[in-house]
C-alpha cells in the first residue's frame, strides 16, 4: 500500500467510526443541553438497541439477510431502514421511560444526585443486556455464553466497492453510515430550527425559565428531547452493529465515553458541535492507530481533548459564555 492509499483508507475509517460516535453524541448533548444531566445511561440504551437489532435480524432469519433481493432489488436497504426505525423507536421509548421513572422525580434534586441515578440506570441496563444475550435464539448462541460478544450477520454485501484488486477498501457499510447519519443529522437540524417543538427545545436549553414564560411546556420538551436523543442512539446502534458486525453487553461503555467526549469537545449543548466532535474523535483515533501506535491512541485522544479545552474552554463550537440560570 502506498502512503496515499493508507491515508485515504484511514480517512474512510476515521469518518465512518466518527459518524457513529457523532450520532451517539447527539443524544448526550441534547439531554445535557436541556437538563444539564450527563446521561450516563445513554450508552447502555444504545447497547440495548443493538440487542433489539440482532433479535429482529434473528427472527427474520436467513432469508432476509443472506438471499439477495428477497424483497426485491433494494431489500437490504429496506431492511436497514426498518432496523433503524425499529431500534430508534425502541431506544427513544426506553429513554423516555427512564426519564419519566427515574430522572423526572429527581428534577429538583441536586445535579449530582441525578448523575448517580443515571449511573445506577446504566448498571441496570447492562444487566438487562447480559440477560438478553442469553436469549434462546441461534443468533445469540444461547445459554451460558450470554456474556460473550455476539456475531452480527452481514446484512450489506461485504465486497470491496473499489474492486478486489484495490488496496483501499470501501465497503457498502461505509457508504451506509453516511447514507443513514447524514439525513438524520439534517433532519434533526431542520426539526430543531423549523418546528415548534424544536424551537421549544432550543429555548428551554438556552433559558428554561424564559422558555416557561414564553408559554413552553418544558416537561413535554424535556420528554421529547429524551425521545429524540434515544432515537438517534438507536439508529447509531444499528449502524454500529452493521459496521462492526459484533454486539456485546458492554459495547455501550466505550461508545458512551467516546460520544460524551465528542459532545464536550464540540461544545456541550451544541448540535453541530457534537457532530464535529464525533467525526474529529473518529479521525484522531484512526490517525493515531496508523501514525503513532494503537497503544497510545487513548492518550492521544484525551491529550488532544485537554489541549483543545485549554485553548477553547467551551469546546470547538460552544458559546464563549453560557447564561447563568
Amino acid at each position: 500500500m502506498t502512503n496515499t492509499e493508507v491515508f485515504l483508507q484511514q480517512l474512510i475509517y476515521g469518518l465512518s467510526n466518527g459518524m457513529i460516535i457523532a450520532l451517539v453524541a447527539l443524544g448526550y448533548t441534547m439531554v445535557y443541553g436541556i437538563v444539564e444531566l450527563i446521561n450516563f445511561a445513554h450508552g447502555d440504551v444504545f447497547t440495548l438497541g443493538g440487542f433489539l437489532t440482532l433479535t429482529i435480524v434473528g427472527v427474520l432469519g436467513a432469508a432476509a439477510i443472506i438471499e439477495p433481493g428477497a424483497l426485491g432489488e433494494s431489500s437490504h436497504w429496506l431492511l436497514l431502514l426498518g432496523l433503524v426505525i425499529a431500534a430508534g423507536v425502541f431506544c427513544g421509548g426506553l429513554n423516555l421511560a427512564i426519564n419519566r421513572i427515574v430522572y423526572k422525580p429527581l428534577r429538583s434534586a441536586p445535579k449530582l444526585t441525578q448523575l448517580v441515578a443515571a449511573i445506577g440506570v446504566s448498571f441496570i441496563l447492562v444487566n438487562i443486556a447480559l440477560f438478553w444475550g442469553g436469549a434462546p435464539m441461534k443468533v445469540f448462541g444461547g445459554g451460558n455464553a450470554a456474556a460473550a460478544s455476539k456475531d452480527f450477520p452481514e446484512i450489506l454485501e461485504g465486497s470491496n466497492l473499489l474492486g478486489d484488486s484495490s488496496n483501499v477498501v470501501l465497503r457498502l457499510e461505509d457508504i451506509a453510515i453516511f447514507a443513514v447519519t447524514i439525513p438524520l443529522m439534517i433532519g434533526l437540524t431542520l426539526f430543531v430550527k423549523k418546528t415548534r417543538l424544536g424551537r421549544g427545545m432550543r429555548a428551554t436549553a438556552q433559558n428554561p425559565i424564559a422558555a416557561k414564560l414564553m408559554g413552553i411546556d418544558t416537561d413535554r420538551v424535556i420528554a421529547a428531547t429524551f425521545l429524540i436523543g434515544g432515537f438517534l442512539g438507536g439508529a447509531a446502534s444499528v449502524m454500529w452493529s452493521v459496521y462492526n458486525n459484533t454486539i456485546s453487553f458492554q459495547m455501550g461503555f466505550r461508545a458512551g465515553m467516546d460520544a460524551f467526549t465528542a459532545a464536550v469537545l464540540g461544545g456541550i449543548g451544541s448540535l453541530p458541535g457534537a457532530m464535529v466532535g464525533g467525526v474529529l474523535i473518529g479521525l484522531i483515533r484512526a490517525m493515531s492507530d496508523q501514525y503513532i501506535e494503537t497503544r497510545w491512541t487513548n492518550v492521544v485522544v484525551f491529550g488532544v481533548l485537554i489541549l483543545i479545552l485549554i485553548f477553547r474552554p467551551s469546546g470547538l463550537l460552544g458559546l464563549k459564555q453560557r447564561e447563568k440560570v
Binding site: G200, R202, A203, Q206, A210, K212, L213, G215, I216, L319
Partner: protein, 242 residues
C-alpha cells in the same frame, strides 16, 4: 369593574426562607401600576408567583376573574401565557443562541394566527426599529439595551392582556432607558395593561397611575403614583431626596 389581576395575601419563598409575607395588590384594565422597593424586597418573586414559576405557600391569585393559583395548585406557567399573562423577566433572559427574529418568534410559541403574528411583529418593529435592522443577528450579540427591547418585543408577540416587566431599566444606558419607557407608555396608550417593577422609582412613578411600595416582603404603602411621588417617606427612601 373588577380588577384584571388580583393578588391576595400571597406568601412565598425559597427553601427555608420566606420572601413574601401576605402581599396583596391589584391591577385594573388599562392602567400602568408600578411596584417599587429596594433590593431583596420581593418584587421579582412577586412576579414569579404571578407567572406561576414560584409556588404559593399562602393566599391566591386571580386573573380576569378566574383563580389561577393558590396553595399547592394552580395553572402551569406555560398555560398562563396563553391567557395573556406575560412577563418580561429581570435580566432579559433572551435566548442567546437564537437570532433576533427567532427570539421574537419564541414569543409567539403558542399562537397559530399567522396574520396576527405578522401584524404584531410589525408593531414591534415599529416600536423598536433597531430590532428589524438586527433581525438575523444572534440574540447574545446585542447590547443590554437592545436585549431589553428584544425581550419586550418578544413579550408583545405573546399577545399579552397584562404585561409584567421586571426592572427594564437595569444595567442599561440612560438614553436607552428613556426610549424603553417611552415605548412602555406607547404600549399602554394602545390599551395594554402593565405591571412595572422598578428600582428607578422616580421614572416608574412618573409613568404609572398607581404604585405599591414593597419592603422586606410586605406592601407598606399604596396610592396614586402622583401622590407617592410627593410622599416624604417615598422621597426619602426611594427618590434620593432625603
Amino acid at each position: 369593574m373588577s380588577a384584571l389581576l388580583e393578588v391576595q395575601n400571597i406568601v412565598a419563598g425559597y427553601g427555608s426562607i420566606e420572601v413574601l409575607h401576605q402581599v396583596s395588590l391589584e391591577v385594573h384594565e388599562g392602567e400602568i401600576v408600578t411596584l417599587i422597593g429596594g433590593n431583596g424586597a420581593g418584587k421579582s418573586t412577586s412576579l414569579m408567583c404571578i407567572s406561576g414559576i414560584v409556588p404559593l405557600r399562602g393566599g391566591e391569585i386571580r386573573f380576569a376573574g378566574e383563580r389561577i393559583s393558590g396553595v399547592g395548585e394552580g395553572i402551569r406557567a406555560d398555560k398562563l401565557v396563553g391567557r395573556g399573562l406575560v412577563q418580561v423577566p429581570e435580566g432579559r433572559r433572551i435566548f442567546p443562541r437564537m437570532t433576533v427574529l427567532e427570539n421574537l418568534m419564541m414569543g409567539a410559541y403558542g399562537r397559530d394566527d399567522k396574520a396576527g403574528i405578522a401584524a404584531d411583529l410589525e408593531k414591534v418593529y415599529a416600536l423598536f426599529d433597531i430590532l428589524k435592522a438586527r433581525s438575523s443577528q444572534l440574540g447574545g450579540t446585542l447590547s443590554g439595551g437592545e436585549q431589553q427591547m428584544l425581550a419586550i418585543g418578544r413579550a408583545i408577540l405573546s399577545k399579552p392582556r397584562l404585561l409584567m416587566m421586571d426592572e427594564p431599566s437595569m444595567g442599561i444606558a440612560p438614553i436607552l432607558v428613556s426610549k424603553i419607557f417611552a415605548a412602555v407608555r406607547e404600549l399602554n396608550r394602545g390599551g395594554l395593561t402593565i405591571l412595572l417593577v422598578e428600582q428607578n422609582a422616580r421614572a416608574a412613578l412618573k409613568l404609572a397611575r398607581r404604585g405599591y411600595v414593597l419592603e422586606t416582603g410586605r406592601v407598606t404603602l399604596t396610592d396614586d403614583a402622583s401622590k407617592l411621588l410627593v410622599d416624604p417617606r417615598v422621597r426619602e427612601a426611594y427618590l434620593g431626596d432625603g
